[in-house]
């Protein structure tokens, strides 16, 4: 159901054919996203520009939020955000935070990315009441009143004087499915 838990990381390795050709997406290493289409050498790889556009279009999060960040792909379509930079490509276990799933029709942010950056979101944020928030955190599906877009939403609630993102929900046909990965679900 959720693909942003640990363990699913290397599932895309089959897409890599090995070797050191930088024009291929190699599963075991992280490669920095190209800035724009013109600089793209790996087929299907998202660009930095697309990633920034996506966060802005989907959630209203301004590109400046990610000014100091570099974006990386490892495996098929998994994008990681690193505050700062390292050499590319790089073979390590992890860099920064896994934060977006691309190479699919509807890009999907991770729970951790939404918790980290979702406070700046202005659209497609669904604010849950206390009971709904608890159910969502436990991984349960909801049927909230929502007239907005279908697709991936940021589920949030009011706590300690502010609205705080909890995680990602998938809204279709009147149902909000909690995408909170098992390991992050809580009985509150």
């Amino acid at each position: 159901m959720s693909d942003d838990g640990a363990g699913a990381d290397d599932a895309g390795d089959a897409a890599a054919s090995g070797g050191n050709d930088l024009r291929q997406n190699v599963g075991r290493r992280f490669a920095r996203l190209p800035a724009t289409d013109a600089e793209r050498e790996v087929e299907g790889r998202a660009t930095r520009e697309e990633v920034l556009d996506w966060w802005e279009t989907r959630f209203g999060i301004q590109p400046e939020t990610f000014e100091d960040y570099t974006f990386w792909e490892k495996g098929a379509g998994k994008i990681w955000a690193l505050a700062g930079e390292v050499v590319s490509p790089i073979e390590v276990e992890a860099i920064g935070m896994k934060f977006l799933r691309t190479r699919q029709e509807h890009w999907k942010p991770t729970t951790d990315a939404v918790q980290r950056f979702g406070r700046d979101a202005s659209t497609n944020v669904i604010e849950l009441d206390a009971a709904q928030a608890r159910a969502f955190a436990a991984g349960e599906d909801l049927e909230p009143d929502w007239d907005g877009d279908w697709g991936y939403l940021i589920a949030a609630h009011e706590i300690a004087g502010g609205v705080e993102p909890i995680g990602v929900g998938l809204f279709t046909h009147g149902t909000l499915r909690s995408m909170v990965p098992k390991g992050r679900q809580r009985d509150l």
Partner: protein, 312 residues
């Protein structure tokens, strides 16, 4: 408790020490300032009716009036991380700055890694290394839950740690390449005697052979940390054990084999100085700059912490 008897000559109020070792520890958390400030976390606990007490030496450390901090909203949001009070000392002593490159040599499960990241305002780079892949997955989980984005995770034997993935061997001009760290934390694997209040069984398997073999690993890791840190850079060496063989003797060893010194440090908790003699062995006088935090000092677990400066 038997193995602790050997420390009787080292500890001023040995009965108070033994009494403290027998008392269980209350549940402490560290506020993760990457995601929330201390006031907001306090407000959230107030709203939820969960009592807390702030550590007098560190406003980010709270002792909670609940046995299950994991079932609170601040935990769900990654605003807090369960971490024993004294265990948050070494990163504070290391005092990493935003923008620096810091090596966490034995990092899993990541409590101190994430604390280093928070102290750096999530800027710069923490290279979190551990030789145990299973424990590294716990580290990655914790780092992501806490919203850390300035970490690189490596799976190497710290004693032979290679900076090659970061292009350290070539030190190329490519942006982001580097070949040495500004600071390092060596929170070494140890016999964990100081965690007895949390793990009452920790002394069951105690043996001097185990102490000696762990000490060999500790010397190897600290030596590598000194080599991998820039001249003039700072290293904190810490353990959660009392055995001088794993503490002052390790410092004494690296003073012999590497260009470094054990310097004075600012330790904001009650503590005793490092010892310079034990069971017929004597150590370099500068190891007295180290800190021995005993359980009865601050009503915490036990810890050892020393600061080294790499020669210029």
């Amino acid at each position: 408790m038997e193995p602790l008897e050997r420390y009787r000559p080292l500890i001023d109020d040995f009965e108070a020490f033994l009494d403290a070792c027998e008392r269980p520890l209350s549940s402490a958390v560290r506020v993760n300032t990457i995601k929330a400030d201390v006031d907001r976390v306090r407000a959230a606990f107030d709203e939820a009716g969960v009592g807390y007490e702030q550590a007098d030496w560190n406003e980010r450390v709270l002792t909670l009036d609940t046995d299950s901090p994991g079932t609170t909203w601040p935990s769900m949001h990654g605003w807090i991380h369960g971490q024993e009070e004294v265990s948050s000392l070494p990163p504070v002593v290391l005092d990493p700055q935003p923008g620096e490159r810091v090596w966490d040599a034995a990092a899993a499960p990541g409590s101190k890694t994430t604390q280093l990241a928070a102290l750096m305002d999530d800027r710069g780079l923490v290279v979190a290394n551990d030789n145990n892949l299973g424990r590294l997955s716990a580290l990655r989980f914790n780092a992501e839950r806490l919203g850390v984005t300035n970490v690189a995770v490596t799976n190497q034997d710290a004693r032979n740690f290679s900076l090659k993935p970061f292009d350290g061997s070539r030190a190329s001009e490519e942006s982001g390449a580097f070949d040495a760290f500004d600071r390092a934390l060596v929170d070494a694997p140890c016999t964990c005697e100081g965690t007895i209040r949390k793990n009452p069984d920790v002394l069951d398997e105690w043996s001097l052979d185990h102490v000696s073999s762990v000490a060999g690993v500790q010397k190897g890791i600290l030596t590598r940390a000194i080599q991998a840190t820039k001249p003039g850079g700072t290293i904190v060496y810490s353990t959660c054990t009392f055995a001088p063989e794993e503490n002052e003797a390790v410092l004494d060893h690296v003073l012999d084999v590497e260009d470094c010194r054990v310097v004075e440090q600012d330790v904001p908790m009650d503590h005793a100085p490092g010892i310079t003699e034990f069971e017929g062995e004597s150590y370099d006088p500068s190891v007295a700059n180290a800190a021995r935090v005993y359980p009865h000092h601050n009503d915490t677990g036990g810890f050892f912490c020393a600061t080294l400066e790499v020669g210029t």
